[in-house]
């Protein structure tokens, strides 16, 4: 979600404000704001979403469906909304509809925040790629949300600078390493890109591409945590090696320094997702028309697979008194042609629904006037997204990632990257065990 990325630093700022409200949140138990009662008026639904302009899309629905009124309540993004929803559920007043990132689905299902809407929404299945639909069912017969947008990983690079320094666009990760070294040689104070420890989502997507399965449920009804599996180790060693030899930068993303590097061209590329143009507009405004997007480098030549970074879905809460109406809205929002067009135009997302990924609405991003087939290429890449495997304590794994990999990238030691991965595995496993999950390690 580009929107989510944008707000990264603002989110941290708001963190301070949120902390002040700690005692307030703790005390907020009991009470319910259900206003349906016995009145015969329209069904009123509240929708917690953080994507901007979601209310404009809801307005289209409200105009057409006077019997079901949806009110959008703007929320903080990503991981903040998870704690808020769990607390709201405890208080018995979770909103009817919720915007949920894919990796948070198991956490929310585990906390009984999300209702199974398979009764009302099963028919939507055909509208989505199989991998996306699997994420909202968690591999069960239930349906916990309707996919909204996806963030297939791609490689973005400065076309002009690549040409100038005679660099090749990498097709494999080996090529990527070579290009990184060549770039460093050509422009000593520049880097191809950075390894950032402050957004675990990218690392998760890269591991996903390599075939990692961090959380799986076996037939015996037991979780298996495999964060340090062979695929993730391969990814860790690759990036750790590049950082150690100094072929790529080690500073975190979304800092003023990072933006300046993108804008000044001291970062020549960025491994990012389909929403990258939205970030580049604000972070590197002087580079319009100088970027180009290519498929993500592959682990072996001839392969065609990518991971995803971000993306969210629309779920219905277990507190909702109108699950059917809510599911109807969620399905409309994410599969109806008019709604999809509005999502693209107003909310600037990349729709998850297959039919939303083609067509006239998705014109090339204004920031990429040199790549008119941007979204055709994107749709082809999106179709190759590997399945992801999320578990019920993604936040713990993500949290540990930022701390442990942050330390490792600061030290620029490949060996510490390995230790960091092991820490991530053990922290995640221990947490699940402590909570009482039936769980083993891979």
């Amino acid at each position: 979600m580009s929107i989510h990325r944008h707000q990264f630093s603002r989110r941290s700022i708001l963190a301070g404000a949120a902390a002040v409200g700690l005692t307030g949140t703790l005390a907020a138990c009991g009470g319910s704001d259900d206003d349906s009662g016995k009145s015969s008026g329209p069904v009123k639904l509240t929708y917690w979403a953080w994507a901007p302009n979601m209310d404009k899309v809801a307005a289209i629905w409200n105009k057409k469906n006077p019997d079901i009124t949806v009110t959008v309540s703007k929320q903080a993004a990503g991981k903040d909304i998870v704690s808020k929803l769990i607390t709201a559920k405890k208080a018995g007043n979770a909103p009817d509809l919720i915007q949920v990132e894919y990796q948070s689905l198991p956490t929310l299902v585990s906390n009984d925040v999300l209702a199974d809407i398979s009764k009302y929404a099963k028919s939507a299945k055909s509208q989505f790629a199989e991998g996306l639909w699997a994420m909202v069912t968690l591999g069960t017969d239930a349906v916990y949300a309707i996919p909204q947008d996806s963030g297939p990983l791609m490689f973005f690079y400065r076309e002009d600078l690549f040409k100038k320094h005679n660099l090749t666009v990498p097709a494999t990760w080996d090529d990527f390493a070579k290009t990184a070294r060549a770039a460093k040689k050509a422009v000593p104070d520049a880097y191809l890109t950075t390894f950032s420890a402050n957004d675990p989502g990218l690392f998760a997507g890269l591991a996903q591409q390599a075939g990692a399965k961090w959380w799986t449920v076996g037939d015996g009804g037991k979780w298996t945590v495999g964060i340090d599996d062979a695929a993730t180790k391969k990814v860790t060693d690759f990036w750790g090696g590049l950082v150690q030899e100094g072929a790529i930068d080690n500073q975190p993303m979304y800092t003023p320094a990072w933006s300046s590097a993108l804008n000044k061209g001291t970062h020549l590329g960025w491994v990012s997702a389909v929403w990258a143009p939205g970030v580049l507009i604000s972070s590197a405004p002087d580079t319009k028309g100088k970027w180009r997007m290519a498929p993500l480098p592959q682990w072996s030549a001839g392969e065609d697979v990518t991971g995803s970074w971000g993306g969210s879905s629309t779920g219905v809460s277990t507190d909702s008194k109108h699950a059917e109406a809510a599911a109807k809205f969620a399905t409309w929002l994410n599969t109806d042609a008019e709604a999809l067009a509005a999502l693209v135009k107003e909310v600037s997302i990349y729709p998850a629904a297959t039919k939303g990924q083609s067509g006239s609405v998705l014109t090339a991003p204004a920031f990429f006037p040199n790549q008119t087939d941007f979204y055709d290429t994107a749709a082809k890449i999106a179709a190759t997204t590997a399945a992801s495997a999320w578990g019920p304590n993604v936040q713990v794994a993500y949290d540990t990632f930022s701390d442990a990999f942050g330390k490792a990238s600061k030290a620029k030691k490949s060996a510490q990257f390995d230790t960091a991965l092991a820490t991530m595995q053990s922290a995640t496993f221990t947490d699940m065990k402590k909570q009482g999950f039936k769980v083993t390690e891979a």
């Binding site: 949120a18 009984d112 009482g436 999950f437 039936k438």
Partner: protein, 326 residues
């Protein structure tokens, strides 16, 4: 504790409400409950917004969530009694212990520097020779009026080599460019923000105390041939001691609760963990890991530690000021 704990509190007992008055007014029967009625609003607010939330946090800290099976869907989790389990975890959590040590390390830099500067500024402003004292006072105080989060972001910007004008100058003059987010420098970087923001406030507290000193004392000292420096060291500092104790006391508590600066700078660097300071560790547990139970236990431990520390400090300063008087 009845016999004047701090010198400064002498003042409150002087005046119309001093000792004699309480006994001279004969209490009337029907007025007896009146004071309690006046207390009701305060007590209600105190109960609703302090006692109940603290009680709830303590209650949470004694529980935990128990997950069954793979823990998906309804009834997969229940809240169970955990006794002192969360507390044992907190005390065995080396990361939390480290965060407390880091906060102390930070305090060791901040408190002496900030209070030292505040005292020096206050004394300088209090000398008769001080020019444009009003302006200087305002200028020193002004950073305190800048919200902590803004200050932290602003400094964060100045600490980043590629965007900071300071680093630009260092580069131009070929001077070494230290990494301000690394190891020990990190403490200095945070301390700098706190000193920048807090000196003004503390200076005002001390300065106000200085202005309350009767001028006759200075006159007497001058007649006895004391220099300005001697007056400052022998008269002013001892008299404003209670204010210094007070500001020290506030600073210690603020140190244990350091949150804004590291939280705002965390996204800018790899060198800062999510549990760098005790409050960050609590925030992280409650809002990112959704472990409200562990977070509550940690919060209770931190609150008790702060309480114990404050109490000890007060006792120590109490003894010190009494001995001083004797």
């Amino acid at each position: 504790m009845t016999a004047t704990p701090l010198k400064g509190s002498d003042r409150t007992t002087a005046g119309p409400l001093a000792d004699g008055t309480a006994t001279s007014v004969r209490p009337r029967r029907r007025g007896r409950s009146a004071p309690y009625w006046f207390l009701v609003p305060a007590l209600f607010l105190f109960a609703a917004f302090t006692v109940v939330p603290i009680g709830y946090a303590v209650w949470l800290s004694l529980h935990k969530v128990q997950v069954k099976g793979i823990g998906l869907g309804k009834g997969a989790r229940e809240q169970v009694w955990n006794g002192l389990g969360n507390y044992t975890d907190v005390l065995h959590d080396s990361e939390f212990g480290h965060s407390v040590l880091r906060a102390f390390g930070y305090g060791l830099i901040v408190i002496p520097t900030m209070l030292g500067l505040a005292l020096v500024f206050a004394l300088m402003l209090d000398t008769p020779q001080a020019r444009s004292a009003k302006f200087a006072r305002l200028a020193i105080f002004l950073p305190y009026a800048v919200p902590g989060i803004i200050a932290a972001l602003m400094w964060g910007f100045l600490y980043l080599p590629t965007v900071s004008p300071f680093y630009y100058l260092l580069r131009e003059f070929n001077l070494p460019q230290p990494d301000l987010f690394d190891g020990g420098n990190l403490y200095l970087s945070f301390a700098n923000i706190a000193v920048w923001g807090g000196t003004g406030f503390n200076m005002i507290v001390i300065y106000t105390a200085l202005r309350a000193i009767p001028l006759e004392i200075y006159e007497a000292a001058k007649i006895d041939g004391a220099s300005d420096l001697k007056i400052a060291l022998r008269i002013k500092i001892p008299i404003v001691m209670p204010s210094l104790v007070l500001t020290f006391f506030f600073s210690v508590i603020a140190t244990l609760q350091v949150f804004t600066e590291p939280m705002a700078l965390k996204p800018l660097t790899n060198g800062l963990s999510g549990s760098w300071s005790p409050l960050m560790a609590i925030y992280d547990a409650a809002f990112f890991r959704s472990d409200i139970y562990g977070a509550s236990a940690t919060a209770v431990v931190l609150a008790l530690a702060t309480f114990a520390l404050s109490f000890t400090l007060l006792r120590v300063s109490d003894r010190y000021t009494r001995e001083d008087r004797a």
